[in-house]
Amino acid sequence: MVAVCVAPTDLRPEVDDLTGTVRSDLRRADLPAAEAAALEYGLRIAEEWGGWVLVACCGSAAADDLLREARALGAEVVRVGTAPSPTAGPLGPLGPLGPHPVAPGDLAGHPAATAAALAGAIRGHGQPALVLCGDRSGGAGVGAVPAFLAAELGLGQSLGLVSVRTEGVGRLVVERRLDGGWRERLAITGPAVLSVEGAGVRLRRAGLDAVLESAGAPFDVRSPNGSQTPPGEPVAGGMHTSASRPYRPRTRPVPAPTGDAHERLLALTGALSDREPARVVGPLTAAEAADELLAYLARRGYTT
């Protein structure tokens, strides 16, 4: 069984410019691109491995039509029902980090509790061969649910994937985006939690008969385990940021200068090497400025 976790969200909530109040309308919800990609990957993998797909969702009934669409694609569906909060969106008046009103039973903003509810729902349908998620939810998500889910299920995890393909039954080759344009290719065997980015694939469309058959059909709706409902005060994404700093690329080794101390000092500082001092050439007309730039580039050997 390949489990795919989704959270249909209003992708264009209304944000009050003055107060920052967010009003989302789940009747207008859609699957975030990442979750649509997760579902498509899930369907492809299940086809090739000869398994089936379980779509697990944690949320209110407002977006059940989207889950039925997933059902029409051949997936089983389980939803952990939470109290609907039709107008109070996942973000409160102060944004994701501020205090926000949480309806009783609403797990939005509680990634650990959401993951626990999802893990329970998935286990209720069997042991997953693979769990796929979007890299982050469409609402106030910080991308913590997949990690918590991996912990709950005791599985390995690989997050932020841009491509997933099968290599025979039970084996996957996935690619992950790293900083600085790097990619990491991983071979995955055995059960794991994968989260994917919304790129590269589009969710297929369900056939007409399947949609008609699925419309209005019931599916498994569970209530979250009462004891797991979190206390009123949500942790901001359940994560603590201890430090944040800009990306620093790895240093490029440059051979050390040779010669005596004087020469080495000159080489390090570039004090006596040729360089073009800055000149003030303006103000110029646009045509003169263009000529000046072209001439500079030609001098530096960029144009011939």
């Binding site: 992708l11 264009r12 309308d25 207008r28 859609d30 589009r202 469309r205």
Partner: protein, 97 residues
């Protein structure tokens, strides 16, 4: 000219939700456009999807289409603009229509 607090066209279009389809639902035959002297679609389209090119053709976009039909209705060259609805579930989504 007495216009106040108007927003840029990009900001205007950013107020609208578009669920963009992979398939272009508008196709323009630029060869037909080259013989068109008025190119009415360029200014009549409320979403500003059509741009004249230097060689007399028309460059078209489909991503931010209101699906109103103005372009093919005002087009005077039969067959220059092929226009269908975008694939189901895609295209514009009005919330305050």
């Amino acid at each position: 000219m007495g216009r106040w607090a108007d927003i840029s066209f990009e900001a205007r279009m950013a107020t609208v939700e578009f669920r963009v389809s992979e398939r272009a639902h508008i196709v323009v035959d630029s060869d037909v456009c080259r013989s068109c002297t008025t190119k009415v679609c360029v200014h009549a389209c409320p979403a500003d999807l059509f741009a004249p090119t230097a060689d007399g053709g028309i460059l078209f976009n489909y991503e931010q289409c209101f699906e109103c039909g103005t372009c093919y209705m005002v087009c005077n060259s039969e067959g220059a603009i092929s226009w269908t609805y975008p694939d189901g579930g895609h295209g514009v989504v009005f919330r305050h229509g």
